[in-house]
């Protein structure tokens, strides 16, 4: 009897020990399962986030990953003659290209590089227009500077002409409305600085009024900052300046009373705070404005109030610029500068107090990923880089 009891006790102890071992094993397996499920959830979340917003992986991760790598070449769009300016619509679905060859049109392509349509200022012939830089605002409106017309032409996202900015505080709609009274919606306007008249059409009949007198400005580079303010470079003979035009007026429904507050900075010359053919001005997240000071071969840096801070990129060595033209800044404060003579794109980190060259991409040539006098650059929200490769007659598309 006592032997039987002892035997039962031994069996029970063994069973308890086995149960404990089994429990531990189950716990370990459960932990592993949890880990795998967590990993699976992370990957699926990343995948869904990428499908929702296809940005480069480092920007997709919830924690900031500070890696810098040059983009890679994807493909080119070829149906263009001497492209000089490029911009992308806010949704990234339309690419606007200003060409200085051929018909001198602004051509519109989709993300795959298929031509959608083209447009030009109404009532102008190719010899009377010369589009240069292009940009878009938050609403998708397209702004095109024109060297021959000395004006900024404004279109909707489809390329329908809307209005012309004739000077810092004058639009065509304002000029016409001052002559004929308030313009109803749907009024058709046209302006060509080579013709003596400006045109407007209310209803069926086209009417003319004397064309406005030139205001003595020469808009060249055009960009919008994140707040919707316009940064416009002016290369009129006696002054090479940057004009920062308030976005509140630009985003208003009508421009028949166009007098936006304006901040002007820079002067013609080679010294500190002076500019020689400023091509583009872009705003960074620290409130600074970076101006590609073309013929001085440098980037000129200003604070948000228009006070000159310093310049960089002049001279020789790494990061030195030859002829900076188009520029753009990304969400990580990386300034991308097109060096037309250096035949590459130089990318600087401007997030801190020290400016440093991160990398450059491209070199001279006619092959894929090579440039022949590049002129302008645009970025979209998915990490694509568009470069106007002027003498190769194409837009190159690169991707981070």
């Amino acid at each position: 009897m006592s032997i039987q009891l002892s035997k039962n006790t031994t069996i029970t102890a063994k069973a308890i020990e086995e149960d404990e071992r089994e429990d531990k094993r189950r716990k370990r397996l459960l932990l592993l399962l949890m880990l795998l499920l967590a990993l699976l959830a992370c990957v699926v979340t990343l995948f869904i986030r990428y499908l929702w917003q296809p940005v480069p992986l480092p920007e997709l991760l919830p924690i900031p990953v500070n890696v810098n790598y040059a983009p890679h070449y994807l493909f080119s769009i070829y149906e263009i003659e001497r492209p000089i300016g490029v911009a992308v619509s806010p949704d990234g679905d339309r690419i606007y290209v200003a060409e200085t060859g051929g018909e001198r049109l602004v051509k519109v392509f989709d993300r795959d590089g298929d031509l959608l349509n083209s447009f030009a200022p109404p009532r102008t012939r190719p010899g009377e227009r010369s589009p240069v830089y292009v940009t878009t605002d938050k609403t998708g409106r397209v702004y095109v500077t024109d060297r021959l017309q000395h004006a900024v032409f404004v279109y909707d996202e489809l390329g329908t002409y809307l209005d012309t900015i004739l000077g810092p505080d004058l639009t065509l709609s304002e000029y016409v409305s001052k002559h004929v009274g308030s313009l109803p919606p749907g009024t058709v306007l046209a302006y060509n600085s080579f013709e003596p008249d400006a045109y407007y059409q209310i209803g069926e009949t086209e009417q003319t009024i004397p064309a406005p007198s030139p205001v003595g400005w020469a808009p060249l580079g055009i960009r919008m900052d994140s707040a919707g303010n316009m940064l416009l470079t002016d290369v009129a003979a006696d002054r090479h300046t940057v004009r920062e035009i308030s976005g509140d007026v630009l985003l208003s429904a009508s421009w028949q009373d166009f007098a936006p507050p304006e901040n002007i900075f820079g002067a013609y010359g080679q010294g500190d705070g002076q500019l020689l053919f400023p091509n583009t001005a872009v705003a960074g997240s620290r409130g600074r404005v970076y101006v590609t000071d073309g013929n001085n071969g440098r980037i000129s840096v200003w604070d948000g109030e228009g006070n000159f801070l310093f310049h960089f990129g002049q001279g020789s060595g790494d990061g030195a610029l030859s002829l900076p033209r188009g520029a753009v800044i990304d969400s990580r404060d990386r300034l991308h500068v097109v060096d037309a003579v250096g035949q590459d794109i130089k990318v600087y980190d401007v997030s801190g107090s020290e400016i440093s060259l991160l990398f450059a991409f491209g070199d001279w040539g006619m092959g894929d990923g090579q440039f022949n006098y590049p002129s302008d650059i645009a970025l979209d929200a998915t990490g694509r880089v568009y470069v106007a490769d002027r003498e190769n007659n194409r837009i190159q598309i690169w991707s981070y």
Binding site: R25, R26, L29, L40, L46, Y50, L57, E79
Partner: protein, 319 residues
Amino acid sequence: MSNNHLVQKRRTLSTQGIQRAIWIALAALIVSVASFGGYYYWDRYVHSGDKSPLDRDIEHMEEVIKEDPQSPEARVALAEFYLGKGMYKEALNQTEQVLNLYPETEGALLVAGVAFVHMNQPEEALEPLEKFTALRKDQPMANMDTALEAAYYFLGESYVKLKRMDEAITALEAALLISATDADALYQLGLAYQATGQAENALERYHKAVRLVPNFVEAYGGMIESYTTLEQPEYVAYARGMQALNLQDYGTAQTHLEYAVEALPDFGPAFLGLGLAYEQTGDLQAALVAVQQALELNPGDFAAQQALGRIRAAMNSQG
């Protein structure tokens, strides 16, 4: 006892269930990672995009030939596009079909010859190129015929490869009569002269070639051989220095060129080369002195004038 057994069984099943779930989760994880990775790569790195003009020309011409397979013009045009794309076998296939029907089609002969040269088959290149030059050389505008010049050049290059140097010299001289600035023809002619023991003639061609293309590394290689033949070690040093300079080996370039300028104090090109080497290594003061010396010896040397301007600008920008 029976209850214990049931509990045990339930636990065992539960453990097995967890194990099964782990395998499923692992498989799902692998599939998700592979899907995301694949899609990410495809979306960011693979893009059919717009085709290059050459690709579109090829596509268009292939369509034309599908509609009219008997057109020799279309086949020659397609062969030229294939040649431009580096698709030499495809180019030869087209020219063969044309030449079978029309053996004297000039375009097909030239494309076939050039394709053979690019495929490193000089023996096969000779027949179509000789035939092409025979057909074109007596035409009224032959002395301005760039296609004929190309044919003579490739013929000369083929003869050089086959070590038939006398024929190479004849062909390359004929090419240079049409285009005196063909640096490649000058280089090949230099090789032919060198191989026939005419080192001085070879050097004359190499020097002309580097005047036209200053970074013509192979031509400096030819100079090394010719100066060695002529037992002129100081000029060998110059050529070695220039070769190294153009291969961006600036340290080696300086070593050779410093020796060359010491041995050849009246030889401007060595001073210029040394100046360029100093410029590349950032020694602008030494570069300025060397380039000024080069200009003193050869005041009309455009490359030296350009270098001087560049060096001065760099010095000014450094303050």
